[in-house]
């Protein structure tokens, strides 16, 4: 597959935590001014990470034409387990079902971000291939990429904006870890895959 997109992307924000802090839910409530209601654990995690990433990017609002892509290999596993049990007992609960639908975290996230745009849940074994796909399809406002799981708990996000004055020291990325390393500041699509460059913060 030969990726073709002449844009260079600058990583303008990333989630700042290493491991999620124990009090992430309290911090999310403080950030929002209230506890999110009935959106489920996975959507809360996604929201926490996305807001942290946007804060790091110093963006108060997500531009309209951003492409938002989220990967969650296990999805809303807690709610799925609850719904399976409720169904065995013939007590299906509407909010549990909604929370079990991983796709439902997109409108929850969009609503909390007060944003309407191109968002999707896309999964693949190789996280780098998802980043490549998103970069290939992103427009002028760039992309917001998230990898979110309930167990082990993670919510890692990157905000990438189009860069008009890119550096020249690009090298091929050998791994996804290199692509998301704090030392990496720029992405560019080469014929063989993603190329990365370091740069000034």
């Amino acid at each position: 597959m030969a990726y073709v997109n002449n844009s260079t992307w600058q990583i303008t924000g990333r989630t700042r935590h290493g491991d999620l802090p124990d009090d992430w839910r309290e911090r999310l409530a403080a950030r929002l001014g209230q506890r999110p209601r009935r959106i489920g654990m996975l959507a809360e995690l996604a929201l926490y990470g996305a807001l942290d990433c946007l804060d790091a990017a110093q963006e108060s609002a997500l531009p309209e034409d951003v492409v938002l892509r989220l990967c969650s290999l296990r999805g809303a596993v807690t709610a799925i387990g609850q719904v399976l049990e409720q169904n065995r007992q013939d007590l299906p609960m509407p909010f549990s079902f909604l929370q079990s639908q991983t796709g439902q975290l997109l409108p929850a996230l969009a609503s909390a971000l007060n944003w309407q745009g191109d968002a999707g849940i896309v999964m693949a074994r190789d996280p780098a291939s998802l980043a490549l796909l998103a970069a290939q399809q992103a427009g002028p406002d760039g992309m917001l990429l998230g990898w979110v799981e309930e167990a082990p708990r993670r919510s890692d996000w990157l905000r990438l904006a189009r860069c008009d004055a890119p550096p020249t020291n690009f090298v091929a990325a050998n791994s996804f870890a290199e692509m998301i390393s704090p030392d990496t500041r720029y992405w560019r699509l080469g014929n063989a895959g993603m190329e990365i460059a370091r740069g000034q913060t």
């Binding site: 007992q89 409108p107 191109d118 999707g120």
Partner: protein, 354 residues
């Protein structure tokens, strides 16, 4: 951006085990939904695929391999494969009682069944999944990154979705009546559909599309966002509203959503093009619906076979469904609206109508 075409398609649904059979069934008036019994003894209508295999995985494998063969996938096994589904393998999980695996276990199995050698992506963004997948595949081919890509829409039997939609009070106890006077809810359906896209010319060209997630009203479609979806799809395709000769609606039989969808369309189309929906024929096949309905739509337009609603239309709505195939529409807009706030549209050109 280079042109992208629909070079192959297939559909297995309640209408039959392939597209020709679906057309024959549709021409004969369609089928009634089956009743699916839930653990507590309640049952709900559902448009299920008639297939003798009882084992969930063996049945899934047989259906997928059959759909792959019908669409001619053997020549494109190195291409990117976009698997689009709302429920993925939840039917097997219900039977096994084991949800310790991840969402990709099902797609790994699908790739193995199809001997797939190219990259595999799973799009699981609820009802708009396969239209999103189609747009991703379209942009990948259009950019020149690949020559071919495949969208595989899959919605297989499970009680998880039926009980969930029933709990949300979105299902009807009878057959769905999209845009009908007595519509009172949707009916779910099962489908396996393949869309094989390519940079090589074919009759149907993908012109562009749009995908919007808007979470401002989780209870129903927002007319302004339906309008925005259409405007963006038209702009992406380089077209004007007057160019559209037919709209394939979401219209699933929901009292509010059907009306809101029409209201949004009316904001864009001064003269409303003819309208069609397939939800009364196949049910709402959730994440597979975009691919399933495009396969059926293009086949109907090629043959002239047309769904005939057998219920009274809602005369309070501003527009009704077309009773027959419109004469040679060149550009067709197809949309899917997802509960919670998904809006996706694709525009196709019938190059034979130029």
């Amino acid at each position: 951006m280079r042109p992208v075409y629909l070079r192959g398609r297939s559909l297995i649904s309640a209408l039959g085990e392939n597209l020709p059979q679906a057309l024959t069934t549709l021409a004969a008036g369609g089928v009634a939904p089956q009743r699916v019994l839930l653990p507590g003894g309640t049952d709900w209508p559902c448009y299920t695929i008639d297939h003798p295999e009882q084992d969930w995985r063996k049945r899934a494998q047989q259906l997928l391999c059959s759909a792959a063969e019908e669409s001619g996938l053997s020549s494109t096994r190195h291409a990117p494969l976009f698997i689009a589904s709302s429920s993925l393998g939840i039917g097997a999980i219900e039977i096994d009682g084991d949800c310790s695996g991840d969402s990709l276990e099902f797609s790994d199995a699908v790739a193995a069944w199809l001997n797939w050698e190219g990259p595999v992506y799973v799009v699981s963004s609820a009802c708009t999944s396969s239209l999103q997948a189609l747009l991703m595949a379209y942009r990948l081919i259009g950019s020149g990154a690949v020559d071919d890509a495949v969208v595989l829409g899959i919605e297989l039997p499970n009680r998880f979705s039926i009980s969930g939609f029933a709990a949300m009070q979105l299902l009807t106890h009878k057959q769905p009546e999209p845009l009908g006077a007595d519509r009172d809810g949707i009916t779910l359906g099962e489908a396996v559909a393949v869309l094989r896209l390519s940079g090589r010319p074919a009759r149907w060209r993908v012109c562009g599309g749009s995908n919007i997630v808007d979470g401002r009203d989780p209870t129903g479609a927002i007319p302004q966002t339906v309008a925005r979806m259409c405007v963006q799809a038209l702009a992406d395709s380089g077209l004007k509203p007057a160019d559209i000769g037919l709209i394939k609606l979401q219209a699933a039989g929901s009292p509010m959503n059907d009306a809101n969808e029409l209201s949004g369309m009316a904001q864009v189309f001064d003269t409303m093009p003819p309208l069609v929906t397939f939800k009364a024929a196949t049910g709402h096949t959730l994440g597979a619906s975009g691919a399933a309905e495009i396969a059926l739509l293009t086949a109907c337009l090629e043959t002239g076979i047309w769904p005939q609603p057998d219920y009274p239309p809602d005369r309070e709505l501003s527009h009704a469904l077309a009773q027959s195939k419109p004469p040679a529409p060149r550009y067709v807009l197809a949309d899917i609206l997802g509960f919670g706030g998904g809006y996706a549209a694709v525009i196709l050109e019938d190059t034979a109508a130029r």
